[in-house]
């Protein structure tokens, strides 16, 4: 399967890639995650998911589901099954065991003041 990266693959239907999805009665179509890029060069934001029989139709359907009420310059769709995620049991992965507040934005407050104080200490003794 070639890339699903929308920077590489455009929305023109590419039928050679269509893979037949055989569904049993009451099965549903594959699920795709939808990302909207609101401005050129901006981040693609996850906005939701939808059912579609193939990637081309996922893009077609995503346009009306997720891009009809707000600014959008590009859509991405990704098969949900292509996404890996950490489990809820592993939430502790994100908890620091020691104080790491210096990594947070406030760790950079008053940088100039602190830098100057440090410089003062370095002044050679005349």
């Amino acid at each position: 399967m070639s890339s699903l990266d929308p920077r590489i693959q455009r929305a023109e239907p590419r039928l050679s890639q269509i893979t037949e999805v055989q569904l049993e009665p009451l099965d549903h179509w594959p699920i795709y995650e939808v990302f909207v890029q609101r401005t050129r060069g901006g981040h693609a934001q996850h906005v939701g998911s939808l059912h579609a029989p193939d990637p081309d139709l996922a893009l077609v359907l995503a346009k009306e589901q997720y891009a009809r009420r707000s600014q959008c310059v590009a859509l991405w769709v990704v098969p949900t099954e292509a996404i890996l995620w950490t489990s809820a049991e592993d939430e502790d992965l994100f908890q620091p065991a020691t104080d790491k507040s210096y990594r947070e934005p406030q760790g950079y407050l008053n940088t100039r003041e602190r830098l100057e104080k440090y410089r003062d200490r370095l002044k050679p003794i005349s």
């Binding site: 929305a11 239907p13 039928l15 269509i18 037949e20 179509w29 939808l50 059912h51 579609a52 029989p53 193939d54 081309d56 139709l57 077609v60 359907l61 346009k63 009306e64 589901q65 009809r68």
Partner: protein, 254 residues
């Protein structure tokens, strides 16, 4: 001059008005939620396009869009019979294929209208192209997908093709006084549009086994006359339905 312009604008507007209404009959009945929403949006777009076309006439001092849409004698409508056809037994193959034939037609017609010598029309055509681009993407993606899908999908598409085929070709019946409109640079001849339409859809339908020879003149004959006021047998019921609310309170302010 004004009469020709009125014929042309009403042809464009009435096609979109009726197509929008027929598509809208699918609201809540679409095959899946996502498609229901997409198709309803397309219906809404078409109705909006109709309104924008009527407005060109209104701007010339002629009646308002509501009057054109809701208060006109059937013989004064100019829409093609393809867009008047009901959804019959609600087979989505029929809905999709009609949408495919119609939006391929709109694609070539709008493209031509962007170069129209009648400037308000050229400007509007440019504005409508963005939505029509989506309509065409939606239609062709579905038809290509289903055309390569199961045997049942193919069988239903074939039946839909046979039902719609002469109506689709009748979209290109020349307009009244068309030669004068062509001379004025408003539109290209219907024959030219038909060739472009043919070149657009044939390479899509041929590989999925949905192409066949153009209809004979006797197959085509019952679908003609639409641009001259001949209404199909399906017009009256539809028109009665969609004017019901406005007729109940003609002076209402919407």
């Amino acid at each position: 001059m004004l009469e020709n312009l009125q014929t042309l604008i009403l042809t464009l507007a009435d096609d979109d008005l009726f197509m929008g209404h027929r598509h809208a009959e699918w609201i809540g009945l679409g095959p899946i939620l996502e498609e229901d929403i997409a198709f309803a949006s397309i219906a809404q777009d078409e109705t909006g396009h109709a309104q924008a076309y009527y407005q060109i006439l209104t701007d010339l001092g002629l009646p308002s869009p509501d009057e054109w849409a809701f208060r006109r004698e059937p013989q004064n409508f100019r829409c093609a019979h393809l867009v008047e056809l009901p959804n019959f037994d609600y087979d989505y193959a029929v809905a999709l294929l009609r949408h495919f034939f119609y939006d391929a037609f709109e694609k070539v017609r709008l493209q031509a209208l962007t170069r129209s010598a009648y400037e308000p029309l050229a400007l509007l055509a440019k504005r409508l192209q963005s939505e029509e681009k989506y309509h065409w993407l939606h239609a062709r993606t579905w038809v290509e997908r289903l055309g390569r899908s199961t045997e049942e999908a193919h069988r239903r598409l074939l039946a839909a093709r046979d039902l719609l085929w002469p109506y689709a070709w009748a979209l290109f019946e020349p307009l009244p006084n068309e030669a004068e409109m062509v001379e004025a640079g408003w539109i290209p001849p219907s024959q030219t549009l038909q060739e472009e339409w043919f070149a657009l859809i044939q390479p899509i339908l041929e590989p999925i086994g949905l192409w066949k020879e153009p209809p004979s003149s006797s197959e085509l004959a019952p679908c003609l006359g639409a641009r001259y006021g001949q209404r199909s047998p399906y017009f009256d019921q539809l028109y009665a339905e969609f004017t019901e609310v406005s007729a109940s309170e003609p002076d209402a302010d919407w």
